[in-house]
């Protein structure tokens, strides 16, 4: 994988990177995927003219709503198109308007991509709009991408690039809010208890049968990964239902990349966590010190689907 950042501050700078990147790919017969804002898609489409018809595209907000879904979307695009050996992906996530927590999760993913996609032939350029992304986000781009460039060709090494495992460790050192007083709790010895407890709590708190059943699946899979016995807690916060699973036994170092790659033909230990990450808005894992926990968050009962 080639993973590089491009910091741009104008439409001209965006096109100055994107157009050659796309055209070189098309000229070489390589599949090209562009996933960026609708504004940038429009810009690029107008500039490419007829060539735009040969470009795979997705409005970025819908190409993986959450980091684990984004990674899965990349992996699946690679699998569908890997016959040519190299695919080009221009990938600009949504940064503006995101919560601190979301920004952290997406920044973490940018770093994790270096390891998760290491075995693929993906050449990915991630454009960062310095007019909107914010200085912190743009600064971290230089830590999460091994290369940086502005002309859509192979970039130069990023001096600030951080080793992904170290960077992920930094992200995961952020403390999680404490389990609030009044949260419902249950000691779990058998996995069937975790899904009964969490599913029951979800129904009691007004989640639809369907969403409660899926949260129970996520909790079961996360608990299966952690290993019983464990303690489960459930509480509500604004707009969300949170489920905290804490391993009772000795802690172990959990794989910070677990659950980002979709299940393949052979079973892997992180497959169940991948399911949890697909079903939940947030999955946080902590294995520092004496604790070993997974925290799941889904939307609360008053979520409106807008349909």
């Amino acid at each position: 994988m080639i993973h590089q950042a491009c910091l741009y501050g104008s439409d001209e700078e965006f096109l100055g990177m994107a157009v050659p990147f796309v055209l070189d790919g098309l000229a070489g017969g390589e599949p090209v995927l562009v996933t960026t804002t609708s504004r940038n898609l429009e810009l690029l489409g107008e500039t490419l003219g007829d060539d735009a018809g040969r470009v795979d595209h997705a409005e970025t907000a819908y190409f993986g709503r959450r980091p684990a879904q984004r990674v899965t979307a990349f992996v699946r695009y690679w699998r569908r198109n890997s016959g040519r050996g190299r695919v080009r992906v221009l990938a600009e996530p949504v940064w503006q308007g995101r919560s601190t927590r979301d920004v952290l999760a997406w920044t973490r993913m940018e770093s994790a991509l270096n390891l998760l996609l290491a075995g693929t032939g993906i050449w990915m350029i991630c454009p960062y709009d310095t007019r909107t992304a914010g200085a912190g986000v743009a600064g971290n781009a230089l830590r999460t991408h091994p290369l940086v460039g502005s002309d859509g060709r192979i970039g130069r090494p990023c001096p600030g690039y951080a080793e992904p495992l170290a960077f992920l460790g930094e992200c995961d050192a952020e403390p999680l809010p404490a389990v609030p007083y009044g949260a419902a709790g249950s000691d779990i010895t058998d996995l069937s208890d975790v899904r009964r407890f969490v599913g029951g709590q979800a129904r009691q708190r007004g989640l639809s049968e369907e969403r409660a059943a899926l949260l129970a699946v996520a909790a079961h899979e996360a608990a299966r990964y952690l290993g019983a016995p464990l303690t489960a807690s459930v509480w509500e916060s604004f707009g969300a239902l949170v489920c905290d699973l804490r391993r009772a036994g000795a802690p172990y170092a959990m794989d910070p990349l677990a659950g980002f790659l979709p299940p393949g033909p052979d079973e892997r230990p992180g497959d169940g966590l991948w399911v949890a990450r697909q079903l939940c808005d947030h999955v946080d894992m902590r294995s520092a010190g004496a604790k070993c926990l997974v925290r799941l968050q889904v939307a609360g009962p008053r979520l409106q689907e807008g349909q």
Binding site: S192, A213, L214, V217, V275
Partner: protein, 276 residues
């Protein structure tokens, strides 16, 4: 199902409510017919059983002398069989057609599987002599699932289509459409049995193998993988057909992308042409 002398059934239960549909008619048919009834308890106090029977509409006082509830206090299979045989002889001697025996089998958890096999063989011999019939009660909370399914197979008039009866999962063989029906929850506990039942259905049937999922309330990723692995190992032209898949399970299968696995067909309703 009404029973005749010689019949030998079993009931596996997780709480007393599950005993009623089997035991209430068993006892009532005997008392309104021409039989005596012997109810042997092991861990339950006889007074509790009497209360249970009253709740099922059995007039225990009117039938005193014809309906015995006894805690034997032994876990020696020979002693139990001797007691039942003696009660049966006495019943016939008193002019009854036969003895209806039912008993808690929890003593066998203490004694081990071999003594249980001895018991079942000897009690069957007694039933075969035509003076008795019986229902053995197995508490699912006490017996390991594998032992339970083996035991249930030993009972002649039990549900012959039942392939596995565990605490969380039941697997039944279905003739039409050919395959199996799953009920309950599938996780690591039932995984081995599911895999075995699928493999035996694949061997048994020639064409597609159907799996009725309508009574599945939970299946985890390992269970779904067992279905997918079975499907993808089928030779070309055969499919594993999942029908009446609960909505959230179908959603999981699509999420993982397993709905596109060759050899697997997934229907939230009836499978087309499935005759169900």
């Amino acid at each position: 199902m009404s029973m005749e002398p010689g019949d030998h059934r079993s009931v596996a239960y997780s709480d007393e409510a599950e005993l009623e549909p089997v035991l209430a008619p068993f006892v009532l048919d005997g008392l309104t017919g021409r039989d005596k009834v012997l109810y042997l308890t092991d861990v339950t106090h006889p007074a509790v059983v009497t209360g249970l029977l009253r709740g099922w509409g059995v007039d225990t006082e009117a039938h005193a002398g014809r309906l015995d509830v006894v805690r034997l206090g032994t876990s020696d299979p020979d002693e139990i069989v001797t007691h039942v045989a003696e009660a049966a002889r006495q019943a016939v001697g008193e002019g009854y057609r036969a003895l209806r025996f039912t008993g808690e089998m929890s003593w066998a958890v203490r004694e081990g599987t071999q003594s249980l096999t001895d018991f079942e063989t000897k009690i069957q011999a007694l039933f075969d002599s035509g003076v008795a019939m019986g229902v053995c009660q197995y508490d699912r909370r006490l017996f390991p699932p594998a032992a339970l399914s083996e035991l249930l197979r030993m009972h002649r008039a039990a549900d012959v289509t039942l392939e596995f009866d565990g605490a969380l999962l039941r697997i039944r063989r279905v003739a039409q459409p050919p395959g199996i029906e799953l009920e309950g929850e599938i996780d690591g506990h039932g995984l081995g049995e599911l895999t075995r039942a699928l493999a035996s259905a694949v061997r048994r049937e020639r064409g597609d193998v159907h799996v009725d999922m309508s009574r599945i309330t939970f299946i985890d990723l390992s269970g779904l993988r067992a279905l997918v692995d079975t499907a993808s190992a089928l030779e070309a032209g055969r499919s594993l057909v999942l029908s009446r898949v609960p909505e959230h399970v179908a959603q999981l299968i699509r999420l993982i992308g397993w709905d596109a696995v060759p050899g697997l067909r997934v229907y939230e309703g009836d499978a087309p042409g499935g005759n169900r």
